[in-house]
């Protein structure tokens, strides 16, 4: 997508080797992050995240549904990402589908844990209302409005912010219903429950250029990466998910090294996101 001459490529690679990137950042420094919450009033929770020229919107909608028979006492979460053609003309028509499904797949791995729901960043049992009968289905939609590199980290941050912005109406279950019929529920429009988002991990993508790794790569840097590893890390510094992208092979020891670097960066990012989210929520309340 990005056309670079050989000279430009050498310039970028040389800069990264000397820990000074073309926009003046060091290797492990993020671009400034701006967060705005409550941007979609029709959703239960929403947030817009800007990282440099990248802009993404995440929204959370909750609907009542039936839990799956395999996990009767847990709710369901669906993550879906769309790439708007406004971000780049190649996303026109069905052009964005490949990237969209790659991003949604990576987000699912990083935020939802395994098939059983173990290790999910969101406590699925808190979504259950009546075991085996009714639960909340959370639909998390991401939209890439403007693409300027590092979409996955931005989407992860936006989802985290949207989840902490989410208010789910309190549900009162009518008592006295027999066990085999669907119980009647009454959705309160005054009382809302907030989510516990402290367990939601942050996503850090480390892009390997030459022998070094960088975070928050721009499209120019991404265009000649060897490979990238996205890890999601929660507050307890547990690794919640890992995906590798890019075509080049990686030595296992390099992967371990990348993970430990990523973990180190995650703490800083987590604190930065938390304070930005808190500031955004405070602004919204004003």
């Amino acid at each position: 997508m990005v056309g670079l001459s050989i000279g430009e490529k050498h310039f970028i690679e040389g800069g990264i080797a000397q820990n000074l990137r073309t926009d003046g950042r060091k290797r492990l420094v993020y671009r400034p992050i701006q967060i705005e919450t409550g941007v979609i009033p029709q959703a239960n929770g929403s947030a817009r995240v800007r990282m440099g020229g990248t802009e993404v919107i995440a929204s959370v909608k909750a609907e009542l549904g039936r839990p799956s028979s395999l996990q009767p006492d847990k709710g369901k979460v669906f993550i879906n990402v769309d790439c708007s053609p406004t971000a780049a003309p190649i996303f026109e028509g069905r052009g964005g589908e490949e990237l969209s499904s790659e991003l949604s797949g990576a987000l699912q791995i990083c935020l939802l844990g395994g098939k059983s729901g173990a290790g999910a960043g969101i406590d699925l049992s808190s979504l259950s209302i009546v075991g085996g009968k009714i639960c909340w289905d959370l639909y998390i939609d991401g939209l890439v409005v403007s693409a300027d590199g590092n979409l996955l980290d931005a989407l992860g941050a936006a989802i985290k912010a949207a989840l902490s912005n989410t208010a789910i109406p309190k549900v009162n279950v009518a008592a006295g219903a027999s066990s085999d019929e669907q119980p009647e529920v009454d959705i309160s429009d005054e009382e809302f429950l907030q989510f516990d988002t402290s367990a939601v991990p942050v996503i850090i993508t480390l892009t390997k250029v030459g022998r070094e790794y960088i975070v928050d790569a721009t499209p120019e840097e991404e265009s000649h990466m060897d490979s990238a590893i996205s890890i999601s890390v929660n507050r307890q510094r547990n690794l919640c998910g890992l995906t590798k992208r890019g075509s080049a092979g990686l030595d296992p020891s390099v992967i371990l090294d990348m993970v430990s670097v990523g973990k180190h960066v995650s703490e800083e990012l987590m604190n930065k996101l938390d304070s930005e989210i808190a500031a955004a929520e405070a602004r919204e309340e004003e």
Partner: protein
């Protein structure tokens, strides 16, 4: 259902001839050649323009004028209840076509032969009048991209409910089943470039409703002019002259 209360107020507290709050911002997609967001009340859309650039599909190239293309997409979360819609459904295709034809009327395509201009509009929130909001956003984005235009196009809708002509319908009023007249004008010459209506309306009332919608377009045009002027002043300031 009562859409206009005896006191003459609508469901969202507006007067029949009152428009929703307008808000526009230019240059919100950094990578695009031109971009803008446009809000009419709760309806919010963004438009991005890429071009004029080389024609991607050679067989579509026009030798005497620019090729204008448009794509309209709705975000999954834009409507009240979440729906997963396939891309390129009938409604989107129809609106894409309407926007393209309306914008083509003001772009001076003959100045840019053998090139292509892409207009992408993305609906973030739909609360009635997305068609109008998209056209207004596209106008701003085209102006931001510096594409030669003979005039701006602005659009607004009007309806007729409870024997009252209503300006700028929201979603509830729009889905009431009454007539919905969407008008797009070139404000300088007050020529109509877009006119659509569904449902039915007596001839003499139609005249009133269309007049109302045209007045709405003019109000939008004033606002669009203001926004563009403000942006140009800012650019001038950055230039340091």
């Amino acid at each position: 259902m009562e859409f206009v209360s005896p006191e003459g107020l609508r469901l969202d507290g507006r007067r029949p001839m009152e428009m929703r709050q307008l808000r526009a911002e230019i240059g919100i997609v950094s990578k695009a050649d031109g971009s803008a967001s446009f809000e009419m009340g709760n309806t919010k859309v963004i438009a991005a323009v890429y071009g004029p650039r080389e024609v991607q599909n050679r067989s579509q190239q026009l030798n005497d004028q620019a090729l204008v293309r448009c794509e309209y997409t709705m975000a999954n979360f834009s409507t009240g209840d979440r729906r997963r819609k396939p891309k390129g459904d009938r409604r989107s295709t129809e609106i894409s076509l309407v926007i393209r034809q309306t914008m083509e009327a003001c772009i001076m395509t003959h100045l840019m032969p053998r090139s292509q201009i892409d207009i992408f509009v993305q609906v973030l929130q739909a609360d009635g009048g997305t068609r109008s909001a998209c056209i207004n956003a596209a106008t701003l984005a085209l102006a931001d991209a510096g594409i030669p235009m003979s005039d701006i196009v602005t659009s607004c809708s009007a309806g007729y409910l409870n024997s009252t002509p209503l300006l700028d319908l929201n979603y509830v009023e729009d889905s009431a089943g009454g007539p919905d007249v969407t008008v797009g004008i070139l404000p300088r010459s007050t020529k109509v470039t877009l006119l659509q209506m569904d449902s039915k309306l007596p001839m003499d009332i139609f005249e009133n409703v269309m007049q109302l919608a045209t007045e709405g377009c003019k109000a939008v045009a004033n606002y669009v002019h203001e926004v563009l002027l403000e942006k140009t002043k800012q650019l001038d300031k950055h230039r340091g002259v």
